[in-house]
């Protein structure tokens, strides 16, 4: 896990690769192509790139129109604006029409950093996954991002892809990585507790598992890059086996993945399962460095370890 690449960078590279093979791929951006990673595509295929200016609502509905005309559009902006400002366009122009539009939203979560709360969306997984027909994907590293972009291109229907700003450790190995649509992936097997992690929290969960192993705690790590569709079978099987769960997400705890997992357990497992959450405790972000923010908002390896031990204590 030494190499670090931002998921937005991997997105830009994958677009370029897909663009070479597929004439039907078009890309839209809202004056952030230099930041979202779409600038490379824009340079290589200017006739298939549409900069829509600082007007995200129009961008999303225009993407819907391009899909109606048989194109496969990827629309990008910061997640705050693609998911937040243009929510109603995503809902009505795209999803209600069941159109083949991919929204690749970057700079999600608090790890956007110094720009602060106005740009740090911690609500996007909630507001995108409540839309019928929408798929919501959160890649954990550059390798998975590339696989998800390819899969989203092939998948028929609207997809929201949550990408980040900072360079993050590369977890997966390109050669051996296999992406399966709609599947949760067991990255490490264990028997005492299930840690479900997504996005930047996956590498933190893997670090936590290494530390926990030193204390003879065996954690099973699930990469939940597919929030919707939710792979109930894999998740429930793991939790039934371990009997305890921690959910780690760079998102508001309110209406985040933690709640989805809780509901899943309540409706399917008859015994008591202690569940703990590593997430943002219903407060806005702020300016700061990546490390300071992760500390301040409790999104670190040590927080996962702490919550794991708490869950295990409640289990016994």
């Amino acid at each position: 896990m030494s190499e670090k690449i931002a998921t937005r960078q991997a997105y830009g590279e994958q677009l370029l690769e897909l663009g070479a093979e597929h004439e039907e791929l078009v890309v839209l951006d809202a004056d952030l192509s230099g930041s979202t990673g779409t600038a490379k595509f824009a340079k290589a295929y200017p006739e298939r790139f549409f900069n829509m200016g600082i007007a995200e609502q129009n961008m999303i509905s225009t993407a819907a129109g391009l899909a109606l005309a048989g194109r496969i559009p990827f629309a990008s902006s910061f997640a705050m604006f693609a998911a937040g400002r243009a929510w109603e366009q995503v809902r009505n122009s795209v999803a209600h029409n069941e159109l083949n539009v991919k929204i690749a939203a970057t700079h999600a979560g608090i790890t956007l950093g110094e720009d602060g709360a106005s740009h740090q969306i911690i609500e996007d997984i909630a507001i995108m996954s409540v839309i019928p027909k929408m798929s919501v994907l959160v890649p954990a590293d550059a390798v998975e991002t590339k696989a998800i972009i390819k899969a989203a291109f092939i998948h028929k229907g609207p997809v929201y892809i949550r990408l980040g700003r900072p360079a993050v450790p590369v977890i997966f190995d390109t050669k051996n990585f296999k992406y399966e649509w709609g599947k949760a992936q067991i990255v490490k097997e264990g028997k005492d507790i299930t840690i479900i992690a997504l996005g930047i929290m996956l590498h933190k969960a893997l670090e936590a598992a290494e530390e926990l192993a030193k204390e003879n705690i065996s954690a099973e790590i699930i990469n939940l890059s597919s929030v919707k569709p939710l792979d109930k079978e894999t998740i429930l099987k793991s939790i039934e086996k371990t009997g305890a769960v921690v959910v780690a997400e760079e998102h508001n705890k309110v209406n985040g993945v933690n709640g989805l997992i809780g509901a899943l357990i309540g409706q399917n497992i008859n015994k008591f399962i202690p569940q703990e959450s590593v997430a943002i405790e219903d407060r806005f972000g702020q300016s700061g460095s990546l490390d300071d923010l992760l500390d301040e908002y409790g999104l670190n390896t040590k927080n996962i370890i702490e919550k794991t031990k708490l869950a295990l204590k409640r289990k016994s």
Partner: protein
Amino acid sequence: MNPVASLSQTAQEIRGLALKAISNANSGHPGGSLSIADILAVLYFGILKHDSKNPNWEERDRLIISKGHASPAVYAVLALAGYFSADEFINTFRKINSKFQGHIDRLKVPGVEVSTGSLGHGLSIANGVALGLRLKPDSKHKVYALLSDGELQEGQNWEAIMAASHYKLGNLTAIIDRNRLQLDGMTEKTMALEPLAEKFEAFGWLVKEIDGHNIEALQNVFRESSRRENTAQPLVIIANTIKGKGISFMENQVKWHGTSPKKEELEKALSELKV
């Protein structure tokens, strides 16, 4: 019957079917359906390239109806054009599990290009369709977008108006149903749109202003628009219309924006339409 009189008759039939459906559903939007009947009659019977037997025909022109609440008029013209039976529409409009939703739904009704209802989306979507079709070699498609006037208060429209001009969408024609009324009253009192033509011009559009109930004027402007080639300028047709057009007690009455006629009112309306 001469062609103009025939289209006038078709528009009256659209009005009659729309009112019957609204009355039967006891719900719907008569005012803005009646105001676009002549526009729809002229477009579907002589201007648009379309095929009711093959609604997804690749070479068809595209009409995006942004004012999705005018669904009764849209379903009526599609029924008259042979896309489905008028009876099915009248009997099931706005009822549970019907294809004929309160606001148009492309996944349910053949001939509907895009589901709308939430105002302000249609022009952006039309821009996307125009951009997408233009990427096809030798594309001759025309893209039309029919908007209400009140919905121009949605800021998204002005983003779209800016973008259509920026992307030189000469294959796009927008039509504004300028009936000057919206749910709360007059557009100019609620949130003034004037000077509307000048606003479009300032955004780089070619503007034509016509009487939206004059069949010949509509034919002329649409024929002109369908012949436009090698142009970089989007065209907007501001069609001055009367909300509730054709029914004496509905014309220019804001009450009829979203009220359904009672049985006696429907009978009176149908007798006035002579259909």
